[in-house]
């Protein structure tokens, strides 16, 4: 196993650029970057399922949105106690994944897609209808950012929140990197390639998938928590099929099973969504065309053609 120093240099350079960006960008663009990082985490978590396990969840927004609602509800209605709220929201997002995993992992293929979709839409319906707890369609606005005063951190200004998000983003990347290189990560890819062979080899396939489903749910929950505090609000949209599909598009646009792919996909889609809509009313049409073009012309994603070369750096 030869090691090249190039990737390490690139990562350090990338981090340096990310660290400097707030100094040169206006607050609006720093805000966009925060969104990019959050969706980067979200997309990475989905890629753990899609790219590494071969499980195409159409309901990944369930963990994201549930955590967002729990964090929002606690901060707004109970107390702005960051550690407790973070833990509770992470737990809720993971619990949703644990329950959904039990139901969905009994099935494969088209049924898996439909069940994950249906289950997450049930949660969406709950958020939409249970007005007294969730605010219904209007969501819950006015959620304060976490107060980490005991650490001397005020996360209210967008720049501080950016660094906070960046730190967690880097943490997620490191954890994900360790995970996909571990024996567990290797097993997941084996399962993606052939479940029946893994079973015959003696792997408890279900347990691997279930654990991965929960881990992915936890990372998605983290993204949801960061999102609700960044926006200061949460709404049923965060649980909707369209959100799940958007993250899927991010992963596929970038390239599944690659490390940079989901992050690249998240970057492009977030920028497109926020910037194109300022130029034309017809941005939904453009977004639709992008979905079609990506699927028909670049089904392996932007990094797909480069995958062979990237493999040397990143286990895939």
């Amino acid at each position: 196993m030869r090691r090249s120093f190039l990737p390490i240099i690139l990562v350090i350079a990338g981090l340096a650029i990310l660290a400097i960006l707030p100094k040169v960008l206006t607050s609006y663009y720093v805000g966009l970057l925060v969104t990019v990082l959050i969706f980067g985490i979200f997309a990475l978590s989905l890629d753990l399922l899609l790219g590494h396990c071969g499980l195409p969840s159409l309901g990944h927004a369930a963990s994201f949105g549930t955590a967002a609602y729990v964090a929002g509800f606690l901060s707004l209605k109970i107390a702005n106690n960051a550690p407790v709220n973070f833990a509770a929201a992470l737990f809720a997002g993971g619990a949703v994944a644990a329950i959904f995993g039990l139901l969905a992992l009994r099935t494969r293929g088209i049924y898996f897609l439909m069940i994950t979709l249906a289950l997450s839409q049930v949660l969406w319906g709950l958020a939409f209808k249970w007005k007294s707890a969730t605010g219904g369609d209007d969501g819950m606005p006015g959620i304060p950012r976490p107060n980490l005063s005991m650490l001397g951190l005020d996360l209210t200004p967008v720049n501080s929140y950016y660094y906070f998000t960046l730190a967690l983003f880097v943490l997620v990347c490191i954890l994900m990197y360790i995970l996909i290189r571990s024996p567990f990560g290797h097993s997941l890819r084996g399962i993606r390639e052939s479940e029946s062979r893994m079973l015959a080899l003696g792997y408890n396939v279900w347990a691997h998938q279930y654990v991965a489903f929960i881990i992915a749910g936890l990372f998605a929950a983290l993204a949801g928590i960061l999102y609700v505090y960044y926006n200061n609000m949460v709404s049923p949209k965060d649980l909707h099929l369209i959100t799940s599909a958007k993250v899927l598009l991010m992963v596929i646009l970038g390239g599944t099973g690659t490390f940079l792919g989901p992050i690249l996909g998240a970057t492009l889609i977030v920028l497109l969504e926020n910037i194109v809509s300022g130029f034309t009313e017809r941005w939904l049409l453009i977004l639709g065309i992008i979905y079609v073009l990506v699927i028909m012309l670049a089904p392996k994603g932007l990094l797909g053609p480069l995958r062979g070369r990237l493999r040397r750096w990143i286990p895939m």
Partner: protein
């Protein structure tokens, strides 16, 4: 007593509409193994085309026929040119979500954002008396249309050569191909038929449910609930589930309006937990 009769009729007519909407979706799932999230768009576009025809000609039959045929052709083309090439379900999902956006936005450009309603045929404009109560005659027409379409589909599937070929192709595509059935063409036709039925539902529904931007998503979710409860690919399942959902939704709203949506989501979740393949789906 009166309440129950009236609300049952409401639920039945709504359920029949759901059947028109969901039958095609169930077929494309179960027979062709295609996940089509643009199915709600067929309903919406069909309704809008029907509206335009109705405004030009004033003939409700013409609106139904033109709406169904034009959307049927749209479905044919989408299946033939794009969906057929995608074997991966996930790719189908994202492609059809793209079309959900595209067709929705194009409809907004062409027909504007104002909610629309298709004028009813004059014969069915008014109310009729049923025992003590008053009921819109048009909703009885909807029940009739639903029954006719269900019988037609059953006949098509069980009593015609085309239906036999479809069943053969689903059981064993290679075998069917080797006996001279043009499987690819057959699938395209069935897909187009499913799209046309959704459009038929759009025109019929457009006369009492209105047509508005965003309806594509609303009806898509309803259709998915019906298909999941009924079981992918089962016409019988789609029929039973559509009536079930129609009645549940109607009684749910009438009795517990706060729980609207839940009265249909909860049965779906329970069925998924107990029988992931739906009431009549194949394992």
């Amino acid at each position: 007593m009166n309440f129950w009769i009236l609300q049952s009729l409401n639920g039945l007519s709504y359920g029949m509409l759901l059947f028109l909407l969901a039958a095609g979706l169930s077929l494309s799932f179960g027979l062709m193994n295609i996940v089509n999230l643009a199915h709600g768009s067929y309903f919406l576009v069909g309704a809008y085309v029907g509206l335009t025809v109705m405004e030009r000609t004033g003939n409700f039959m013409a609106a139904v026929v033109v709406g169904a045929i034009s959307v049927g052709i749209l479905g044919l083309l989408m299946q033939r040119l794009l969906l057929r090439r995608l074997t991966d379900h996930l790719a189908q999902v994202l492609l059809t979500i793209g079309f959900l956006f595209i067709l929705g936005d194009l409809s907004l450009v062409i027909w504007g954002g104002v909610p629309q309603i298709i004028p009813k045929p004059p014969l069915f404009e008014g109310p009729i008396r049923i025992m003590e109560s008053v009921f819109p005659s048009y909703r009885l027409l909807v029940i009739g249309v639903g029954i006719v379409v269900a019988i037609f589909l059953w006949w098509l599937q069980d009593r015609t050569a085309m239906g036999a070929n479809v069943r053969a192709a689903v059981d064993d595509e290679e075998m069917a191909g080797s006996t001279g059935i043009n499987v690819a063409l057959l699938m395209t036709v069935v897909f187009g038929l499913g799209a046309a039925m959704a459009a038929l539902g759009g025109v019929v529904g457009g006369a009492f449910l209105t047509i508005f931007p965003g309806q594509d998503m609303d009806v898509l979710l309803l259709a998915l609930v019906v298909v999941i409860i009924g079981g992918l690919g089962s016409l019988k399942g789609a029929f039973v589930a559509a009536l079930l959902v129609g009645l549940l939704d109607n009684f749910g709203k009438a009795l517990f309006p706060e729980l609207a949506l839940f009265t249909i989501f909860a049965p779906m979740a329970i069925i998924l937990a107990i029988r992931p393949t739906g009431l009549f789906g194949r394992a």
